[in-house]
């Protein structure tokens, strides 16, 4: 990890005073995660360069990590070499007075804008992103890609050294999401302190705050509110009203149409116990729970992460006992027979089947229609024909990376009829979403009803 700071301010060796580091001496500082070395490759009156070289101990970095952080964290990684939050910490510890604008020998120089150049090796970001972050702060940004994920960053500006260091201090950790230390409330303080005077106006403010605070939503809110305090009075309520209006006018998203339709079908069918197979984050469940008619909504998903998200979004923890009795989130797999799927009036498979390998569909069919045998099954899936309506979608590609197949209307119809015949159900298919005159609707739905024996 290497940061070089240069100036052509005359005499350039004053940089030594500003940094409080003697250009004639090489010095070493022990930090908790490695060592920082300061030396001057060049120091003349015309040009002076100070190098901060940081050696992160790669073995110590890996030791004591628990597996919760992902096993790959134990493999080789770029932490010892790339410019990351370690560098920020080193700046704060080794160049503390300079970053604060304090200089005993030349106090007025510390408050003066001088021509400065900073060069950082191994910055984990693209040149474009670096331009977005540093450009608005008045730097001439020269960033060149090194490999696919890193860049060499050169910043030039006539500015105060303390500003340059503060910018680097805040923005280097923003460059990648992996901060090496625990993020807590005091991080908000640090950010606000170092960001004073420039972060408020930065166009990428939200991104910087979010990344600096490693996407911890509550902390982000705290920080943003303090950066741009919401003033009391009418202004706020007007803004809120606008937002409400926009929300009302905004056309429903396709997914909302889908959920509303499925919920309506289930309601009209008089279902009381509903199984949401592949419930994801629980959006359909949330719709259903609004209706008192549904006595039990059991959501099943094969992703523990999705179930956790669903539990959060449904606010399961905060529900009353009575409410909790109506909702269940269970880990389950749709290609394995499961007695917990039995005894339901209806099951929903909303945008689920296309995430399965086609070869596994027969297993799912048997699990749902042969063994669980709910009174009704509602299936939705994309209509592939409609894809060409969307210009952003490359020809012949699917809508989602994890879709294993997408069907045309005819293919869906054929599949649905086959399943109905095989398992003694009747079925009706219908379009879902605004219809194109020849290509149909973006999504399609099949409603299966169990035949009386």
């Amino acid at each position: 990890m290497l940061l070089q700071l240069s100036t052509t301010h005359y005499p350039a060796t004053d940089l030594g005073f500003l940094l409080a580091k003697n250009p004639a001496r090489a010095q070493e500082f022990n930090l908790s995660f490695g060592t920082a070395r300061i030396f001057y490759p060049e120091s003349s009156d015309e040009n002076c360069t100070c190098a901060l070289m940081l050696d992160v101990d790669p073995v110590a970095l890996v030791r004591g990590k628990n597996s919760g952080e992902g096993l790959l964290s134990q493999y080789v990684n770029d932490r010892p070499y790339a410019a990351t939050s370690f560098l920020s910490v080193a700046i704060a510890q080794v160049l503390r007075s300079a970053m604060s604008g304090v200089c005993k020998e030349k106090p007025e120089l510390a408050q003066t804008a001088i021509p400065l150049l900073a060069q950082v090796e191994g910055v984990p970001a693209t040149p474009q992103f670096l331009e977005r972050l540093f450009g608005p702060l008045g730097y001439e940004v020269e960033a060149t890609a090194v490999g696919k994920r890193h860049s060499r960053l050169v910043l030039r500006a006539t500015t105060k050294l303390s500003d340059l260091l503060s910018h680097l201090y805040v923005l280097i950790p923003v460059l990648d999401d992996n901060k090496h230390y625990y993020i807590g409330e005091d991080e908000v303080e640090k950010l606000l302190r170092r960001g004073t005077g420039w972060l408020e106006q930065h166009p990428e403010r939200e991104l910087i705050v979010a990344r600096y605070l490693k996407k911890q939503k509550r902390l982000i809110r705290v920080a943003l509110e303090r950066l741009a305090p919401i003033e009391e009075g009418d202004e706020t309520s007007d803004a809120a009203k606008d937002e409400e209006e926009q929300r009302a006018e905004r056309p429903l998203s396709l997914h909302e149409i889908r959920l509303n339709t499925v919920a309506r079908v289930l309601k009209e069918a008089g279902a009381r116990r509903v199984l949401d197979l592949g419930c994801g984050e629980g959006r359909l469940m949330r719709e259903l729970l609004k209706e008192g008619q549904f006595e039990l909504v059991r959501g099943i998903d094969a992703s523990h992460r999705a179930l956790e998200a669903a539990s959060d979004k449904l606010r399961l923890e905060r529900m009353s006992e009575r409410q909790k009795e109506r909702v269940e989130l269970l880990f389950g797999v749709l290609t394995y027979r499961d007695e917990r799927y039995s005894g339901f009036d209806a099951a929903a498979l909303v945008e689920v089947i296309e995430h399965l390998d086609m070869a596994r569909l027969p297993a799912l069919e048997r699990v749902v229609w042969e063994f669980a045998r709910p009174g009704m099954v509602v299936v939705t899936t994309p209509n592939r024909e409609y894809n060409s309506v969307w210009e952003s979608l490359p020809a012949d590609s699917m809508r989602h990376r994890d879709h294993r197949f997408e069907w045309t209307r005819a293919e869906f119809e054929a599949w649905a009829t086959g399943v109905a015949d095989k398992f003694n159900y009747s079925v009706e298919t219908s379009p879902l979403g605004p219809e194109h005159e020849t290509l149909g609707a973006p999504s399609q739905m099949a409603v299966f009803r169990r035949n009386a024996i």
Binding site: F39, Y40, V76, Y81, A82, R149, A359
Partner: protein, 842 residues
Amino acid sequence: MKISLPEPCLVVLVGASGAGKSSFARRHFLATEVVSSDFCRGLVSDDENSLEATTDAFAVLHYIIEKRLNNLRLTVVDATNVQAASRQALIQLARKHHLFPVAIVLNVPEAVCQERNALRPDRDFGPHVVRNHTRDLRGSLRYLEREGFRRVFVLNGVEEVDKASVERVPLFNDRRDLTGPFDIIGDVHGCGDELEALLGKLGYERDESGTYRHAERTALFVGDLVDRGPRVGDVLDIVESMVSEGAAFCVRGNHDDKLLRYLEGKKPKVNHGLATSIADLDARDEPFRERMRAFLDGLISHYVLDGGRLVVAHAGCKAEFQGRSSGTVRSFCMYGETTGETDEFGLPVRYPWAQDYRGKAAVVYGHTPVPRAQWLNNTIDIDTGCVFGGKMTALRWPERELVEVVALETYAEPARPLGFVDSDSIMAADEVLDFADVSGKRILENQWMNRITIGAEQGAAALEVLSRFGTDPRWLIHLPPTMSPTATAPADLGLLEHPATIWSYFRENGIGTVVCEEKHMGSRAVAVICRDEKAALRRFGIEGESGAIWTRTGRRFFDDRSLEGEVLERLRAAMTRLNWWEEFDTDWFCFDAELMPWSAKAQELIARQYAPVADAGASALTVAHAALVAAAKAGVDVGAWVEEAAVREDAMGRYRSAFERYCWPVNSVEDLKFAPFHLLASEGTVHIDKSHVWHMETLAKLALHEPICVATPFKVVDLADESAVADAEKWWTELTASGGEGMVVKPLEWVNHHDGRLVQPALKCRGPEYLRIIYGPEYLLPQNLERLRKRGLGAKRSLALREWALGAEALTRFVAGEGLRRVHECVWGVLALESEPVDPRL
């Protein structure tokens, strides 16, 4: 009086308070066998005499009784039980668990009871209580049998109570004491010629009295000896004499039962072939008919044999019916269970109990003719429809071998085609896996190690991966185990791994000869290659594919199915040229291999993880090196920093070349390299019984016929021969110096035990350059190496053995024809173990 109790049963003591029930129970039963209502009162209320606690106390009492009966334990109820209602509840419990309720009545004079209670200060409930008890009891006596007790013993007076003795007799069906070996014979239906041929084939001969017998073995008939076939009387004669002479056992089939009713003079409906039996028996003399009637009358519905490992019943037996006796059990064993529906041939649809069977005992049965006998969930139907022109099948136990005789002719036409529904639909149902079998904490049994425990969390993680990303479970007959590295090299070698510690490990574990195989740096791949789509459908039940290649976590290796198809096709063609299909008598093979280049599968990892390290590192270290040189030139004293920077820059360069040599672009199948090192299995055989030299030499032949196949260089090393060991070390040094990953060392034979424990099936020894990819570019710097040497291998080694055992078990079960569920369970187990936290650098 001698009280004879069938074991297990539910013993209900009946007697007034003070009649001496508790003392009686103490004298004749284990303390744990006796459940007392007073004790239960105490449990729920701290007062053994509390009347308020009655409801709760009896709930506990009944709960304990249920658990004990469920576990087939004889249980004695110590309560007054003088009222019919309280007895009825107990009778129902016994019936629910298909065990006999037995009543032992202590009919002691009221005065004695009153006297005894007077001596006990805690029984101050007044004389009317005992009076009522006695009255109720006397009134009940004559109705006890009618209430449902299978046996009633009444002990009149104190003397009889004191003198009574209790003996226990196992239930008729409990023959766990018989260990065989057995030959279990399927439905005979009067096919005398085939029966005699089968008995001959099994090694039974007629003795001087004309009875068939075997010197070491016992025959077991699954019933339905009679009806439809040409020699009903002869068959009965043969089997009756075998059974009465102790050469055979026989359970009663539904046809036998119906014929018995005819012989008893009742008038059963004459259909389903009963007419042939009647015609045959009517032509015999009365003593013969009487002998057969007595024989059939003596048959019971099922046997539990061989220490509880084997159950034989005509139509099968659920786990919860085994070793029990009731009308329901008998009916199930003779007829099976029907769903109430009828099929298109007008026959009742049978409930496929075997599909849900999870019992420990193997169940051998007949009743439903199937085209071939096959195991399903530890059950097997051996009625192969001899009388319908199929075969007569015998199962040898414990060998589990099938012995068959083909029918000489078709004696009857079945109402529905042979094997029309049952076997196919049962097998098909088995293709749907059940969540309950792969969730929660589970213990997996296998033939290599003690039981292996799978934690609930690990299991759920594995299931998530399998269900979302896994290859079709029907293909997944194996997942490869992880492999431990060798113990860390001695400090003076300046390396992390060196062969020296491998030799010592295997020597210490009693291994004489090892095989050193070059370790390829690619991605692990398991491949099943079928001869054609027909074979894939027949053996794996998969349509439209003829093989699959998957990774060590069960994901399909290639996203591009056409590329997979090309690889499979090339391998298939090579095997055809080698004539392997005929040589191995198989239409499928399973290989364990390394597929190269590494970049084919690890592209994402290289781009995200390995290359960025080299990019960031090289740029930072090069610039730093130059800056230090400049500073030194300018006269700053930077000490040894310049040299240090040069060493680190060099290490970074070596790191990059270490991984780059394992990467090359794949534009077509030609760019791939397939290096098989285990021929895991083919039809009928798991090849782990062969030496690794056999595997190496056999698999090397593929490379002669197919350019994408690589023959793995290997060396056989006698560990007693120092020069051979030195040679192997030199080989490893050269291999790794020229960019090889390292080597894998295996004992010559696959499975080895030392001091009763499994020896590691393989250890790896990786080269110093390769390890830069794992431990970081600068791991060899002394200050780093010193710390990295402290690594623990115990967890990894234990995991390697457990995963190996489950992987081998999966193959063994698949080859033995066990169902999908049984194979899948092992594969799931391997993946679950893989999610245990272990240092991934090992």
